[in-house]
């Protein structure tokens, strides 16, 4: 491994990292609220609502994200829904990760003691207030480790966009590997991923520590 080579390919890799990060951040911002909404719906009193959302979660978790990307980008044009490359990726990622987050939040909601919500009801809080002020803070504390897993998966899953012709970090590494016939670019890719995940892990631990103020 030599430094000159590394500095030569680094710009291309960092360029790919931009795509990785942009997709990661946008997906996160959009899919967490989606997941929260779905998780609440999954516990709805109304059977049809639950049935539809269960179907959604099953379809999204039940098929590989790669296939979902392919269907959104290559399949939907058959019925005249044409997405631009990046929008297709974002759309597929958001609805996919929304389903995963929904399951995590559902688990979190389930494990908050029913007595908490009863106490808040008696105090006269409205459903939305109960959710926002009583339930959600307690759910957040519980779901951080599991959310961490999915968030970190998301960083890496963003590499699937190669299938619709978008270039991300891993793609950039693959290009360099094929061109220069060496595994060094992949090592560098791994290092960049590690740095990204280190930052995320640090953020997640801070969030966990933040919620440690109570037991």
């Amino acid at each position: 491994m030599n430094w000159q080579y590394i500095t030569e390919i680094l710009p291309a890799l960092l360029d790919g990292t931009k795509m990785t990060l942009s997709l990661f951040l946008l997906t996160l911002v959009l899919s967490i609220p989606l997941g929260l909404l779905v998780s609440v719906g999954l516990r709805s009193k109304y059977r049809p609502v639950r049935a539809v959302l269960k179907l959604y979660v099953w379809l999204m978790r039940g098929t590989p994200l790669l296939l979902q990307l392919i269907f959104v980008f290559y399949g939907l044009p058959i019925i005249h829904i044409v997405f631009e490359r990046y929008s297709a990726a974002l759309f597929a990622f958001v609805i996919n990760y929304g389903a995963y987050f929904a399951e995590i939040f559902r688990g979190g909601l389930q494990s908050v003691d029913e007595g908490q919500s009863e106490a808040a009801q008696i105090l006269g809080l409205r459903p939305w207030q109960i959710f926002r002020k009583i339930i959600l803070p307690q759910v957040n504390k519980k779901v951080i480790p599991a959310m961490g897993n999915e968030v970190i998966n998301l960083v890496k899953d963003s590499s699937l966009v190669y299938v619709i012709g978008l270039g991300d970090l891993l793609r950039a590494g693959n290009i360099a590997m094929a061109r220069d016939v060496t595994l060094v670019p992949l090592l560098l890719v791994a290092v960049i991923y590690l740095l990204l995940t280190a930052a995320l892990t640090w953020g997640l631990r801070s969030a966990e520590r933040h919620y440690n103020y109570y037991q």
Binding site: P11, D15, V163, G165, I175, A178, R179, V181
Partner: protein, 248 residues
């Protein structure tokens, strides 16, 4: 949505779909620029056509779907002409010779396709080598271990596995084999064996309805062959002349 008919006349920019990891036909340089034999040739062709051209990286597995959906107009990246593919796409006239060759390590003493008997063979998934392997079982398939080949996502990993000794041979494009071996620190360790399969040709893939475009490209390719451009590019990228001489 692009108007797909307009690619036939000069108004619209042509989009060339390519796998940007496919050296030396079309790939990304360290500075991010897309280069390669096919890229040079496409640019020369565009000049002759008087039409703008851009390159779009795609997943090679999705190339025909990209073409059908109109997200690209040309598949131009060491695209081997085959009867199978002809059902799906229209081909330009072929512009380059290629051959499926067997790459082995010298030390393993494999000097012919027949020497692969009982040995493990590696292949790139979706490559034309794979098609030949399946279609002409007598040449290799019936010889090799388990009568199946190990499939790789790209040639690179196939070669890595060859060096690790878990396979004894790789079937692949002569063009890529040449490039790969030239990149090695010790090229003499490798051996290339030819003769198992007959030669094949590279051509440009288009939508079948783009007949006008096909005619214009064929004309341009003729001119480029006659003025020696293709031969010059072949020397530049492959260190040999692989131009197809038309037997008209």
């Amino acid at each position: 949505i692009r108007n797909l008919n307009s690619v036939n006349n000069k108004k619209t920019t042509l989009i060339v779909g390519l796998d940007d990891t496919f050296v030396p036909m079309g790939f990304r340089e360290k500075n991010g620029q897309i280069v390669g034999f096919d890229v040079d040739l496409a640019k020369a062709t565009a000049k002759k056509l008087g039409q703008k051209i851009t390159f779009q990286a795609i997943d090679w597995n999705m190339k025909e779907t990209e073409l059908r959906n109109g997200t690209i107009d040309l598949i131009w990246n060491g695209y081997t002409k085959s009867p199978e593919r002809e059902k799906q796409v229209a081909f330009s006239q072929p512009y380059l010779r290629n051959q499926q060759v067997l790459i082995t390590m010298k030390q393993s003493n494999i000097n012919s396709f027949a020497d692969m008997k009982g040995k493990r063979l590696g292949l790139q998934n979706g490559s034309s080598g794979q098609t030949l392997f399946e279609e002409k079982p007598k040449v290799l398939k019936n010889l090799v271990a388990d009568k199946t080949a190990v499939l790789y996502d790209n040639f690179n990993t196939a070669f890595l596995d060859l060096q690790a000794g878990r396979t004894q041979g790789v079937l692949g494009d002569s063009i890529y084999a040449g490039y790969y071996i030239r990149q090695q620190q010790d090229p003499d360790r490798f051996q290339i064996t030819t003769g198992g399969f007959s030669g094949e040709t590279f051509a440009i893939g288009m939508r079948k309805q783009d007949t006008k475009l096909k005619r214009r490209i064929d004309t341009a390719l003729n001119e480029l062959r006659e003025d020696g451009t293709i031969a010059r590019l072949s020397q530049k990228w492959f260190k040999q002349d692989l131009t197809i001489t038309l037997k008209s």
